[in-house]
Symmetry: C2
Subunit: 166 residues, 2 copies
Amino acid sequence: MSDHVARVVRQWKSEYSEVDASPMYVLARMMRINMKINKDLSANFAKFGLATGDFDVLATLRRSGEPYALRPTELTKSSMLTSGTMTSRLDKLEKLGLVCRNPNPEDRRALMIHLTDKGRALVEEAAAKHFALEAEMLKVLDPQDREALEGILERWSHRLEEEGAM
Amino acid sequence: MSDHVARVVRQWKSEYSEVDASPMYVLARMMRINMKINKDLSANFAKFGLATGDFDVLATLRRSGEPYALRPTELTKSSMLTSGTMTSRLDKLEKLGLVCRNPNPEDRRALMIHLTDKGRALVEEAAAKHFALEAEMLKVLDPQDREALEGILERWSHRLEEEGAM
DNA sequence: GAGGAATTACTTGATATCAAGATACTTGAC
DNA sequence: GTCAAGTATCTTGATATCAAGTAATTCCTC
């Protein structure tokens, strides 16, 4: 039995024996699993009329607690995106009445993005489904694998953030 | 010490105690690490004038062995993308002289995408750097973590493919 | 064989993203 | 206080992607 990535590595080996393609066992599999996860998660968000990125903004506001307001820069940093991308997301969410832009009294360059009541209700409903779906997805892993994976990813993430890489 | 995802989970817990956000320890960390990896890998491809997806097509052709030719459908399946996306990638690669479209003698609906000599030379150069960079990236993991991760992702990937999910 | 179902590559229109730069504002060095 | 440097948001133009649909061809069932 072999998966897509195993076949790819085998092909490289037979074509190009001087190169070590083994990092792909980790990185290419991660990438493919991640693509699959993202597709499934975004199918759930679509039921609420949201793209993954829209949910991400609303969820970031919601979990920041009262008064459910952050600056665009904070949202941008949290999402690993560029400022232009965040601007267009906010345009869309504002048009849908899920957030509103207010002036920021502390810094006239900045804004405050407020979650509206409608936005809050929607994100809470979507988040409940989202967490349930994530839990479901992890059930294909054996409990000990899931636990080990949690530890490994935690260490990996820490080191990347320590290095300032993220 | 805590990373971005740990802070996010803590926020959810304090705002929304009835929900179990713990799957995010696995899924959100995977997503963020993956985003970081993709950014670094695509910076390497850019040195060769390629986007990640362009490299993916050229590499799939190269490792398929002589005569370095596949049908668009095979490339599409391998990449987890839609056929329209593959069409536009092939347009671009053809314009750059890295692949060429030839009629497929066995099926007049289909084509054969051939890697040109120029395409082959480029992908071999880019691939060498790519593999070196991937190996470098995995050095932040302890050897036992890397080994464990390889096993876990292999099992995960197998199960998803078994289910027909990928 | 004939005819309907499936497959193949492509087209179209919409959206998401980025890099680079513009504009307005704040901060800090002197 | 002044001004250069930095910061915050948005704009612009380019690209990548997708979903849905099209036309030509092949496959399958009878």
